[in-house]
């Protein structure tokens, strides 16, 4: 490849063919390329970081009337606890009910099944839309518009994510992730209140709220 074979018949003097090869040595070239590849492999990253866009409510605006609008039956409160554990309850909390809070986890059978079960209508519609998109029946813009429309469904659950002080950033991201997987359009990160800590303490006896004595029925919002 890197050689040129020249045929020279020597002007036809003796009829003998002189053959000489011109070799170009590519070894230094390979060396240099290898060096550059090594450099690029070490100093660059292939993956561009992904991001998750969130918008928080404004602090100065009183969001109470907005919260009123949420039907209590649609609300799911997710509490992030110690050691990657998740707890949840449906609807308005009744703090003296010991069976209210249930424990689950971030696996496919845990929180996801619960959320999917509560959000069947939207999930079904999203599946149909995705199928349409795969058949290229809708454009990307249409797909985005329609998926936003579907997620606005009045009957879909509203998830309140309350992270306790013992949870980690990973838990929060996992919880937000579940919202995306389960196509939940309405969710919020809310500060945990004493009542929720009380529920956690009652269920786990794990030091969530040591100052709240377990025998006393906690009476917030009563």
């Amino acid at each position: 490849m890197a050689e040129i074979q020249q045929k020279d018949d020597g002007g036809g003097k003796k009829g003998k063919q002189k053959k000489f090869n011109i070799h170009v040595d590519f070894t230094p070239m390979v060396d240099m390329n290898m060096l550059l590849i090594t450099f690029f492999m070490l100093c660059t990253t292939m993956s561009k970081p992904q991001t998750m866009e969130i918008s928080m409510p404004r602090k100065d605006v009183v969001s109470e009337d907005e919260q009123e609008k949420i039907k209590a039956s649609n609300a799911i409160t997710v509490l992030l606890g110690k050691d990657d554990k998740v707890y949840y309850y449906f609807g308005e909390p009744t703090y003296d009910d010991p069976d209210l809070l249930k424990e689950t986890d971030f696996s496919g059978e845990g929180l996801r099944t619960i959320l999917l079960g509560r959000n069947q209508e939207v999930v079904q519609q999203m599946k149909e839309l995705k199928a349409k998109r795969e058949k290229l029946e809708v454009t990307l813009e249409q797909y985005k518009e329609q998926s936003i429309e579907i997620k606005k469904n009045k009957n879909s659950p509203v998830v309140l994510i309350k992270a306790s002080d013992f949870s980690t950033y990973k838990n929060l991201i996992d919880a937000l992730d579940e919202m995306q997987i389960c196509n939940i359009g309405r969710y919020a990160i809310v500060d945990i209140v004493a009542g929720d800590l009380r529920l956690l303490q009652d269920l786990t006896h794990d030091g969530y709220a040591p100052e709240l004595k377990e025998e006393i029925i906690y009476k917030e919002k009563q």
């Binding site: 890197a2 970081p49 950033y169």
Partner: protein, 200 residues
């Protein structure tokens, strides 16, 4: 011994090899981006979100597991302006040289009171001690808030990105988010690494 030893040519044709390496090189050059130097190594959590972060105008907030906060601005003139304004609000006068030195490093994370001293150090020393510094962001001495406010003042189009380690306790994240909320910065990005969308 009377046999004549045949002289064999030891020439190996490297052309094909060279072709391959050039191809690989091109591939790497086109697909990868340079690693930004960050004061601490953080390991962001995984998510299924596929949104890419914009290329420019990012202010990223780096939170390491122990809750130390670092910031980085991607534009050099912005960094220059921000430190100048920061100096004004804390009554510290930074020289041209210090401003220049500050604007050369993409990320920063020293308390403003020690900034002058920090910038006086050679850059290798800076890399060593920056891990132990971090921007103070507790309620009594919230320099992070000031940095953020000034960064927004200098560049209106900044996109905020929070890059936190997955083991960071939630209270630290909450403090940062609260500060951002105080500044009426309600939209921001959480940087994550990609994981596959599970089938539902």
């Amino acid at each position: 011994m009377s046999k004549k030893i045949k002289k064999k040519s030891t020439f190996i044709d490297m052309t094909a090899m060279s072709d391959v390496t050039v191809l690989l090189l091109t591939f790497f050059m086109l697909t990868s981006t340079f690693v930004q130097k960050e004061p601490v190594q953080v390991n962001p959590p995984q998510s299924v979100s596929e949104i890419k972060i914009p290329e420019t105008n990012i202010v990223s907030i780096l939170i390491e597991p122990n809750g130390k906060v670092f910031m980085s601005l991607d534009k050099q003139p912005d960094r220059w302006e921000v430190l100048k304004k920061m100096g004004e609000s804390y009554n510290i006068n930074f020289t041209e040289e210090e401003l220049k030195k500050f604007s050369l490093a993409p990320s920063f994370g020293a308390p403003i009171q020690g900034m002058k001293q920090f910038l006086g150090l050679p850059s290798e020393e800076q890399d060593k001690i920056i891990m132990d510094l971090g921007i103070p962001c507790d309620s009594t001495n919230n320099q992070f808030r000031e940095w953020m406010r000034l960064a927004r003042e200098v560049n209106k189009n900044l996109v905020i990105a929070i890059k936190a380690d997955q083991n960071t306790p939630y209270p630290m994240i909450r403090d940062i988010m609260n500060t951002l909320q105080d500044l009426r910065e309600n939209r921001y990005n959480l940087i994550t690494s990609l994981k596959n969308m599970p089938e539902i």
